[in-house]
């Protein structure tokens, strides 16, 4: 139940349209409700003050990953950012950094989709039998737990907005996509390590990461993409020396 309090919270919302040279910040005063999150406030603004405000959302429960924005400079799921944490305000809402802004709070995720596809985040079988729906590939709970954490990603892209490397290199494959590559490489049902190898090890792959670690700090699903990348670096380094010192152990 909403508790109405006679308080208003001031919002400074980033506004931008493709034909504008510069963005502006628009001020909206929104009534404070104890159980409201930033997304509720955006919906309130859109429904009652300014229908032109554009932003993405869907599930309202931290599952779809579409409502990410910078809230007071930090990447957050707006559906999980309670107004009470930001009192007395003002609360500044901006689109996720390190992406191109399309309009207001909406960013283009095309670049991310390409990176995601480049790591082939699906089960690859050497016999090419991935679309044979009749085959069963059994896995023990222990084998499942080896990658489970990295499979929790909801593609909200908060990790990219926290990453200074993504800020300075648009080509960097980045935290979520590399964590998903590691997720499939660790899956005992998968045989695609070799196919992902070049993409992961190229300059824009794991070695561009300087382990700032903020991606893991902001991840709402505790995926720990920074951990996934460092673990991939460890595997990559061992693999490098194995190829160098014991080439006969490497499958051609």
């Amino acid at each position: 139940m909403s508790t109405a309090i006679d308080t208003m919270v001031r919002f400074e919302v980033f506004r931008y349209q493709p034909d504008w040279d510069e963005p502006t910040y628009q001020i909206y005063d929104v009534p404070y409700r104890e159980d409201w999150v930033v997304l509720d406030a955006l919906n309130y603004i859109k429904d009652t003050i300014d229908g032109s405000l554009t932003y993405r959302w869907s599930c309202r429960m931290g599952v779809c990953g579409s409502c990410g924005a910078m809230v007071n400079g930090y990447p957050k799921l707006t559906c999980a950012a309670f107004l009470s944490e930001y009192l007395p305000g003002p609360i500044r809402v901006e689109p996720l950094v390190n992406f191109n802004v399309e309009r207001d709070l909406v960013t283009s995720i095309d670049g991310f989709m390409e990176k995601l596809e480049s790591v082939q985040p699906w089960i690859i079988r050497e016999d090419g039998a991935t679309d044979d729906l009749k085959s069963e590939y059994l896995q023990t709970p222990a084998q499942h737990s080896a990658y489970q954490q990295f499979s929790m990603c909801i593609n909200c892209l908060l990790c990219y907005a926290a990453c200074p490397v993504s800020s300075h290199s648009e080509e960097f494959i980045g935290p979520a996509a590399l964590a998903l590559a590691q997720r499939y490489n660790l899956d005992t049902r998968d045989e695609g390590v070799e196919q992902r190898r070049d993409v992961i090890l190229k300059d824009e792959g794991i070695w561009e990461c300087s382990f700032v670690g903020e991606c893991s700090a902001v991840c709402p699903k505790h995926v720990d993409p920074a951990g996934a990348i460092q673990q991939a670096k460890m595997t990559g380094a061992i693999d490098y020396y194995r190829r160098l010192l014991m080439p006969w152990t490497v499958k051609s």
Binding site: Y16, P23, G73, E94, P95, V97, N98, F99, N100, V101, T140, P141, A142, Q143, S145, A146, P164, S167, H168, E170, S210, F211, V212, G213, E214, S216, A217, D224, A226, G227, Q230, Q231, K233, M234
Partner: protein, 127 residues
């Protein structure tokens, strides 16, 4: 319109600043390594040369540099050791072993090596 964190990214959050300092520390540590290598080289030179180099190392600027370097070295070591559990995932019966089991041996080994070096320096000094 691409919005980036900009070149001042490291000033924007305490966690960024800490990483920036950790990375910057490498420059100081690299210079320190060069100074030690030169010291080793000078040890094989005539005594006057060696003494001149020692005097250079004791000038106030160098002392300040070394105080900063040791602070950076401690910061780097401390933060880096604590990152190991993220880098290595050792599983026993399907469960990750606690991070402390990876962190503690590093600090232990560090303490032992430091102790041995101090003992050796003391022994050489006394002998």
């Amino acid at each position: 319109m691409f919005r980036s964190l900009g070149w001042t990214w490291w000033t924007k959050r305490p966690s960024y600043l800490l990483v920036f300092l950790r990375e910057t520390s490498s420059v100081f540590i690299a210079v320190q390594v060069v100074l030690v290598l030169v010291l080793l080289h000078k040890a094989g030179q005539p005594a006057a040369d060696y003494q001149a180099y020692l005097d250079f190392l004791w000038n106030p600027g160098m002392v300040v540099f070394h105080v900063i370097s040791i602070a950076f070295a401690l910061l780097h070591t401390y933060t880096w050791f604590n990152l190991l559990p993220q880098t290595i995932a050792i599983r026993i019966m399907g469960r990750r072993i606690p991070g402390l089991l990876l962190v503690a041996p590093q600090f232990g080994a560090w303490a032992v090596v430091t102790g041995l070096i101090i003992a050796w320096v003391w022994w050489v000094g006394a002998g």
